[in-house]
């Protein structure tokens, strides 16, 4: 395992006008880890994802990925340097086929130029063939190849989630960010999802950071967990430590009533 962390977030934060959505956010993820990010609603989990992926530019602190500073890079540049993500509310390319959805993500790894496509040079055909083959390969891994010509919006909900993960992987990430991948899934689907995450992690030697409300999933697969509340990092540690951490319990269940106050 490398000594340098893959992702290093130092005191990052963002302020919208007078509102500090996230502040003093510190995080270190090493190559190959599976990390969970939890917290009550409105704690700033998705906001911190948006900071990592360049949707928002941090107003304070630094984000280092693979030794490179990510602050101020556009989302597509961050994706190309190796962070890709899924969304809390699924954002597929609805009118495109399942296969085309994955092909779009593989776009940044293809090399043939716009001119070669317009003139239909041989590099265009080679490039397109490579994209097609890679995309089909991803669909097979996710057992979506049976749906390849289906329009993305017509897929059942669980399959849309799978497709979103497949699409994120096709962009060739080193770090995969999953924003509530199990939202709206039944226990059986959640179980399949856990297996899928474990599988892709091994298959692609991936580092994964996931936001999740399903504690069974988080506690079951994550090696370390970070807890956010009101934009502040309140705890981090192994699942067992987090489960018994007084501040975490307080954030989720409220302050304990002291005997003297009663």
């Amino acid at each position: 395992m490398a000594n340098n962390p893959l992702l290093q977030v130092k005191d990052a934060g963002i302020q919208f006008g007078g509102l500090k959505a996230v502040s003093g956010f510190n995080m270190e993820i090493r190559q190959g880890e599976l990390i969970g990010l939890i917290g009550p609603n409105g704690a700033g989990k998705t906001t911190s994802f948006n900071l990592l992926t360049g949707v928002y530019v941090p107003t304070e602190g630094d984000i280092l990925f693979d030794g490179k500073r990510l602050n101020g890079l556009a989302p597509y540049q961050i994706t190309r340097s190796g962070i890709s993500r899924t969304f809390q509310n699924i954002r597929l390319f609805n009118e495109l086929s399942v296969l085309d959805n994955v092909k779009v993500a593989y776009h940044s790894l293809s090399k043939h130029s716009m001119l070669s496509s317009i003139l239909r040079l041989s590099s265009h055909f080679h490039g397109e063939q490579e994209i097609e083959e890679k995309a089909l390969q991803f669909l097979r891994i996710f057992q979506l190849d049976g749906y390849k010509d289906e329009i993305a919006k017509n897929l059942p909900y669980g399959q849309q989630r799978r497709l979103e993960i497949a699409r994120a992987l096709a962009a060739g990430p080193k770090l995969l960010l999953l924003d509530e991948p199990a939202a709206g899934m039944n226990p059986q689907e959640t179980h399949q999802l856990m297996e899928l995450i474990a599988f892709i992690r091994k298959e692609f030697q991936l580092t994964v950071l996931l936001i999740e409300h399903d504690m069974k999933l988080v506690m079951g697969i994550c090696e370390r967990i970070y807890v956010l509340d009101h934009g502040q990092l309140i705890a981090h540690g192994t699942p067992d430590e987090i489960r018994n951490h007084p501040k975490v319990i307080e954030a989720y269940l409220g302050e304990e009533v002291k005997s003297g106050d009663a």
Partner: protein, 315 residues
């Protein structure tokens, strides 16, 4: 190099259409009125298809397309006035329009939806007013242009336009543009440089609008800035929306239909606009997604033998 069967079919059909019309024109079966109408249809198809790339494929709602038409028309007219050969003049018109597309596109494509529409509408009007005030091109009185456009020039330009836009759309670059239309945030997160593709699509669209402009100005003996007002932009927009957003064959079909309709309604100037609008309303009532929806004409010839429904049931 391999070409698909569809390409050869396209080539054969277009040669047959070209030869047939050329024969009819040279034997005098088609009188100048009809051949002129045909050329006008071709120009409108080029305009419709170039705007289709911007609105239908990339999803950027631009309503200043007549501005690029005007730039191409005037640039080509100035070139031929300076004794530049006509084909070169067409290219110059297209290139200058594409450069205008870059200049306008880079700042304004940061805007979305209605705001982009207003910005591009403003651009179209600025272009028109600039030409009104330039003495060299005759100002509001207009500029005399020699009649150089013929069926061959128009048709060759049309085929090139269709091929380039089809090839662009059916490639990873076109898919990137469609991804931007479908969900810009997700496209960005998938590593697509959204600004680059929006500007590129805008510039390619502007280029072909400029080519259409060159053909347009040399199809008449005079061009005036009033020909390029925002109503012209809306005419082009109507082709794209009526044909079905996202369908190139739809845009072609709508351009043909609406040009024929408005040409033949010229004999009834009092009721012309009334009938034109009634046709639009009827189409929108019965085909709310446009004549073709998002389908292409090829989908009717079994190019998609989809076992599981798929795109045919998509919309």
């Amino acid at each position: 190099m391999k070409k698909s069967k569809g390409f050869w079919l396209f080539l054969v059909v277009s040669i047959v259409v070209y030869g047939l019309v050329q024969l009819l024109i040279s034997t005098g079966v088609l009188n100048p009125f009809y051949s002129n109408t045909l050329i006008y249809i071709v120009i409108n198809i080029i305009l419709a298809v170039s705007l289709h790339l911007v609105i239908g494929i990339t999803g950027q709602f631009s309503i200043g397309h007549a501005g690029f038409l005007a730039v191409g028309a005037y640039m080509a007219a100035i070139c031929t006035k300076l004794q530049v050969p006509f084909p070169l003049a067409l290219v110059v018109g297209g290139v200058v329009a594409a450069l205008m597309g870059l200049v306008v596109g880079i700042p304004s494509l940061r805007l979305k939806g209605d705001y982009l529409a207003i910005a591009t509408l403003g651009f179209g009007e600025i272009i028109r007013i600039v030409f009104v005030n330039i003495e060299y091109v005759g100002g509001a009185a207009g500029m005399q242009v020699s009649h150089l456009t013929n069926w061959t020039y128009a048709f060759v330009c049309l085929i090139i336009t269709l091929l380039v836009i089809m090839n662009f759309t059916n490639s990873t670059h076109g898919r990137a543009c469609i991804a931007i239309r479908e969900n810009e945030i997700a496209a960005d997160a998938m590593g697509i440089n959204t600004t680059y593709y929006k500007v590129a699509a805008f510039a390619i669209g502007a280029f072909f609008a400029g080519i259409a402009g060159g053909l347009y100005s040399h199809n008449f003996y005079i061009i005036q800035p009033t020909n390029f007002g925002f109503l012209k932009s809306f005419d082009i927009l109507i082709f794209v929306v009526l044909g079905g957003l996202g369908s190139m064959s739809g845009a072609v079909l709508a351009a043909i239909l609406m040009t024929i309709v408005s040409t033949f309604l010229q004999s009834y100037p009092e009721t012309r606009m009334v009938i034109y609008s009634v046709i639009l309303i009827v189409v929108m009532l019965y085909r709310p997604t446009g004549l073709m929806g998002t389908k292409e004409i090829t989908s009717y010839f079994g190019k998609w033998p989809l076992g599981k429904g798929g795109r045919l049931h998509g919309k």
